[in-house]
Amino acid sequence: MEEPLDLIRLSISEVVFVKCRGDRELRGKLHAYDQHLNLILGDVEETVTSTEIDEETDEEIVKKQTRKVKMLFVRGDIVVLVSPPLRTG
Amino acid sequence: MANRILPLELIDKAIGSKIWILMRGTKEIVGNLRGFDDYVNLVLDDAIEYSPDPKDKTKIIKTELKSEILLNGNQIAVLVPGGTGPPEDSLAAKAR
């Protein structure tokens, strides 16, 4: 591996985990990518995490919403991290 | 014309001394400047990071970064070369 994008190149056709801005996480098969990290993912599961503050108890409530998408395009500038998901926690 | 100072020459003179960095947003950093490049990425020693507590914006969290760091230039707003850090009336000074 010579440059970081090689890690993405080696993940083509694999299921990858993508962490995006705005507490958005994606897991799907990597079909294509470019130098901006624009991605095409297939059979994607999207998880959006949001927190609300309970006015009464002042406690944080963490909400996770998930949905499935057949195929999507991710604009590179919102990507924070990409990982082959084998050992993700 | 020839003796006009380029902005980065001022930063070059600050190498080896303290520098105060104001980031875009509210973060501030003070450290010893070791070097920099054309993008104003900085190498710093003994840096201290000051940023607001996410739970209570009136509080500042001070973090001492114990090893050398490379600070990404793309979030830097202002550099104060030779600056000894935030003035006493600044938000960051309250954390000291």
Partner: protein, 97 residues
């Protein structure tokens, strides 16, 4: 980063002796390659891992990486991960691992 760079740096070494205190970002990055690092993002999230490689955008590939939240708690572990450079606030060496 071109493959010429390490050679050029070696040639410049005697001259650099005069300015021992100077250390450019590229000197720093060369010295931390293959070593354990801490990468702090603008969002406050921090990654610790072995720096496998990086490019001019500060995109990085980390091995044996761990994700820590702004609260300092371990959030996740990744075998390998790619971090997009525009999110990076700073990179620092990690003494203990």
């Amino acid at each position: 980063m071109s493959s010429e760079e390490p050679k050029a740096a070696a040639d410049a070494a005697p001259a650099a002796d005069a300015e021992k205190s100077k250390r450019s970002p590229s000197d720093f990055l060369k010295s931390v390659l293959g070593r354990p690092v801490r990468v702090k993002l603008n969002s406050g999230i921090e990654y610790r891992g072995v720096l496998a490689c990086l490019d001019g955008y500060l995109n990085m590939a980390l091995e044996q990486s761990e994700e820590y939240g702004p609260d300092g708690l371990l959030k996740a572990k990744y075998g390998d991960c790619f971090i997009r450079g525009n999110n990076v606030l700073y990179v620092s060496t990690q003494k203990r691992r």
